[in-house]
């Protein structure tokens, strides 16, 4: 059990790191949102699943309820994260920012 939880946590950490590195490396506003909005979602999926599993270590009604609440957080993250990403992209489009195309300088 501990091994699975540790593996899941490290995988989540890997995707979070990928998200942070991606924000720094990608060339412009729109492409930076790709790792920011989505590698974080998968990272939180893995990390939160790990926490919910670890919480079930001593199985009882109380810990089961807590695990379900942790999974509920995940559901809301999955609803809110794409919506927030879309709102940020929409703000960029309304402000008139042209997307980066291949061959340009990075911004």
């Amino acid at each position: 059990m501990n091994i699975i939880v540790t593996l899941l946590l490290f995988a989540g950490l890997f995707f979070f790191t990928g998200g942070a590195v991606g924000i720094l490396r990608f060339p412009d506003f729109y492409s930076r949102l790709h790792p920011a909005g989505k590698l974080d979602t998968l990272g939180s999926l893995l990390a939160i699943t790990a926490l919910a599993l670890f919480n079930l270590h001593h199985f009882s009604i109380g810990t089961l309820l807590t695990s379900i609440k942790i999974i509920l957080i995940l559901v809301f993250v999955f609803l809110a994260s794409p919506t927030a990403t879309h709102a940020i992209v929409d703000a960029g489009v309304r402000a008139g920012l042209a997307p980066w195309v291949k061959g340009e300088e990075r911004r």
């Binding site: 990928g18 990608f26 060339p27 729109y30 492409s31 989505k38 590698l39 195309v101 990075r106």
Partner: protein, 196 residues
Amino acid sequence: MDRQNQENLGTNRSPTNNEERSSTQSLQGRRLFFYPFLITFIIMFGLWLVLSGHFDAFHMSLGLISCAIVSYLSSDLLFPSPRIRGLFSQWVRFVRYVPWLMVEIIKANLHVTYLVFHPRMMELIDPRIIKFRSKLKSDLALVTFANSITLTPGTITVYVSIDGDFKVHAIDKASGDPLPGEMEARMPGHSVRSNG
């Protein structure tokens, strides 16, 4: 004389027809109101049980009363069109859609992570904006589709119109090509469109 009689008959008949229609409509409406209420109530009460964690009579009855009030007032928010036919098959489609979406998310996440850590990333990526027109009609299906596009990495929904015009920002050619394609075909609301 005959014609007048016919007209009289005609005018006489139409109100009864209308009455019959309205009475069946109200009956249908009452029945159609009941199932959304019941489903909303079950969801609400499940959430109450999970979030409260107290299983004694006082808290349970409080939950029953408040869930009944909330689902009476707002069951039409969760089910805007009270059509029960097709609802079950839609749920089955949704349940089958989620695991597929999970697999797609993980595959595509690995692709973006590969791009992020690649030393010559600037040569690999080729951002572009894709425009296409979706065949989905219902609001809920469009929203789910747009959210799914944003969740699968490599693509972000930039703009959706109510008619189903999509603008999608894709990070490279490979992640933008499969759209709309299979994801649209698997959307839970897809079956509703053909019914009207």
